[in-house]
């Protein structure tokens, strides 16, 4: 797993010995989790007013007045913001998970990274933002009575708060593990502590909670869970999904891939996913995700072109012939 809570590492290194896919020959394996079903409501686009902004550890929580989004969003979905204002040189939207909804408003937790997310994190109450949402597929809910384990990394924990509340309201037992590189990059600790027990906090540097990665407490808690939900950096998702799959527990992960459009038209946000027919394809994380069954995502192959992908054979040609401008 990477040190980098804000993501960016593409090739996932799992703790040695662990393999996610394909299954070790001869090993008994549960059937794969179902693909997450699409959302019930289509997205809308419009200008919305920022009604609240507050620092949340290393991040900024924005609250935005947008009844049409707030009233239809489900946990696991995200929104996409235009950034930089009308004369911006930044054309692409920034995708941000919905952290909470209520009273016609929704909230997001923004980590100021490069220029676009920094612009977003510096919006103040009264400012207007152009936002599209709710986008993507929500976390599917488990059968009645299933105990759930929630695992959040960095600002990813924020996306689990709504889910935690919903599960508790429906009578599920909820456990949670929340981790980050250090105390400042922990997020939504109080909100998740209020709905989850046991509730474990980890930091890589031990600045608060248990020292180390989320994987240790997850390994301890997963056997007691009937379903695992995870949101955070890709290496964490890979590890958590791996632990769940190994124990035969279904898992749902909300992935984070670089997105140009957020609405499914550009094909930039793909990752290799095993489809309902058992064949792998490059699936769009914006419209076919961001929530995928944890055992369907081929984490180890992210950033590569696995030869068994549907249509990978047709690419050979392109690879044999150097395209204009590529080095031979």
């Amino acid at each position: 797993m990477s040190e980098d809570e804000e993501g960016g590492t593409r090739v996932v290194q799992l703790p040695s010995g662990e393999r996610l896919l394909p299954p070790v020959p001869g090993t008994a394996r549960a059937p794969l989790g179902q693909p997450a079903p699409p959302a019930a409501h289509p997205p809308v686009q419009g200008v919305a007013v920022v009604v609240g902004s507050r620092p949340v550890s290393a991040y900024t929580e924005l609250t935005i007045e947008a009844p049409d989004i707030a009233e239809t969003a489900a946990p696991g979905q995200f929104v996409a913001f235009a950034v930089g204002g009308p004369t911006s040189s930044m054309l692409l939207r920034r995708s941000i998970a919905i952290a909470g909804v209520g009273e016609g408003r929704f909230s997001v937790v923004v980590s100021a990274r490069a220029e676009g997310s920094t612009w977003l994190a510096t919006r103040r109450p009264g400012d207007e933002v152009d936002v599209v949402g709710p986008l993507g597929r929500p976390f599917p809910l488990p059968p009645e009575g299933t105990p759930a384990l929630l695992v959040g990394g960095g600002y990813g924990a924020a996306a689990l708060v709504g889910l935690g509340g919903l599960l508790r309201a429906r009578g599920h037992e909820v456990a949670a593990v929340v981790g980050a590189g250090d105390q400042a990059r922990l997020c939504s600790v109080d909100d998740l502590a209020a709905v989850a027990a046991p509730f474990v906090v980890t930091t890589d540097d031990g600045s608060t909670g248990r020292a180390g990665r989320v994987t240790e407490p997850v390994a301890e808690l997963v056997s007691g869970a009937g379903v695992v939900y995870a949101c955070g950096p890709m290496p964490m998702l890979a590890a958590v999904a791996g632990l769940a799959t190994d124990r035969g527990v279904p898992s749902w992960v909300a992935v984070e891939e670089s997105m140009a459009c957020g609405v499914g038209v550009c094909m930039t946000c793909v990752l290799p996913v095993v489809g309902a027919d058992g064949r792998s394809r490059f699936a769009r994380s914006c419209t076919e995700g961001p929530v995928f069954a944890g055992d369907r995502v081929r984490f180890a192959d992210v950033g590569t072109l696995p030869p068994d992908l549907v249509g990978a054979d047709a690419m050979q040609l392109a690879h044999a012939v150097p395209e204009e401008g590529e080095t031979p």
Partner: protein, 326 residues
């Protein structure tokens, strides 16, 4: 769904794609609206000229490994690798969905050999709702050591002739040109002479971005296509040059169109219709908005019909300011 502000009743926005009338001169751009479905929540797909579908090849393609894009100043570069379902998937799943809803599709085809293009055009005969064919010749030609068809007038002409021959005669055939050539007029002329009913201009410019962290090219494919408002002046120059040289060849203009005034520039330079590409990523309802803004801009300038504005910027210096052209 965005409700459209009322269009000035005085401007007739009917346009033509190679002779086939369409209700709007604004289309999507290939590869920037997938097969149209995902934009359905954002605007009325039947109110634009057509959905230009993602370039399809004979076989399904996985596309390239990620990363597939990088944002650049007022633009982006991409290297998707033509991920798509292949012609069978297009005919089985995508075109029927569009046709059922009354959405016109302008089908973009791509191949690695001249015969691929011809076969694709033949397969589209009789397909429901197809307005015409856009031939994406900005692909490497395996038979010419991977040289891009559109970089060579002869290779371009060969593809166009084969497609025109194989295609349904009712389907206008547009050749989509790359700006990465020394003389775009010569390629345009070769395509027109080979039977193209129109020209789509421009495809992306070849570009590269290096990741300052990895210190290697960002894209898995090393180079990629630059698009967005950054390239608009280059696109306008290409449209201008080709319209000046071949005033009777219809042009579908594109490259960085984000507003109605941008679209107006393309129309004035000689484009009879326009495609909106990268701007859709910023604003998924851009095609409908741009239609309305263009109608308003034409009306404000005294044009009664879109058709009267096509190529208007080429008028001689002594031709005065525009009156009402109804």
């Amino acid at each position: 769904m965005t409700t459209l502000p009322e269009v000035l009743p005085s401007v007739d926005m009917q346009a033509s794609i190679g002779g086939v009338p369409v209700v709007s001169p604004v289309l999507t751009a290939s590869g920037c609206s997938s097969f149209g479905r995902e934009l359905d929540p954002f605007f009325d797909l039947t109110a634009i000229g057509a959905v230009v579908t993602k370039s399809v090849q004979l076989r399904p393609r996985s596309g390239r490994a990620t990363p597939r894009m990088a944002e650049t100043p007022s633009g982006m570069i991409n290297s998707i690798g033509l991920q798509g379902p292949g012609i069978d998937g297009l005919l089985a799943d995508e075109l029927p969905w569009l046709a059922e809803r009354g959405v016109r599709s302008f089908v973009s085809i791509a191949g690695a050999r001249t015969e691929d293009f011809a076969e694709l055009a033949a397969r589209l005969r009789g397909a429901p709702g197809v307005l015409g064919i856009e031939v994406n010749i900005s692909c490497p030609n395996v038979e010419s050591r991977g040289e891009v068809f559109a970089c060579n007038p002869d290779a371009s002409a060969a593809v166009v002739a084969a497609v025109r021959e194989a295609a349904d005669p009712a389907h206008p055939v547009y050749a989509k040109l790359t700006p990465d050539v020394t003389d775009i007029v010569s390629v345009a002329r070769a395509c027109a002479d080979a039977g193209a009913n129109g020209l789509s201009m421009i495809n992306t410019l070849l570009g590269l971005v290096i990741d300052p962290d990895t210190m290697r090219p960002v894209l898995g494919g090393v180079t990629g296509g630059l698009s967005g408002p950054a390239i608009r002046p280059v696109a306008l120059r290409c449209v201008w040059q080709v319209h000046a040289a071949l005033p009777n060849v219809p042009i579908l203009g594109m490259g960085g169109i984000r507003t109605g005034l941008d679209a107006l520039q393309f129309v004035l330079a000689g484009a009879g219709a326009v495609s909106v590409g990268t701007a859709v990523f910023n604003d998924p309802s851009a095609p409908a908005r741009i239609h309305d803004e263009l109608a308003e801009a034409l009306g404000e300038r005294g044009f009664g019909r879109l058709a009267d504005a096509v190529g208007y910027a080429h008028r001689a210096p002594d031709e005065g300011p525009p009156g009402r052209h109804a």
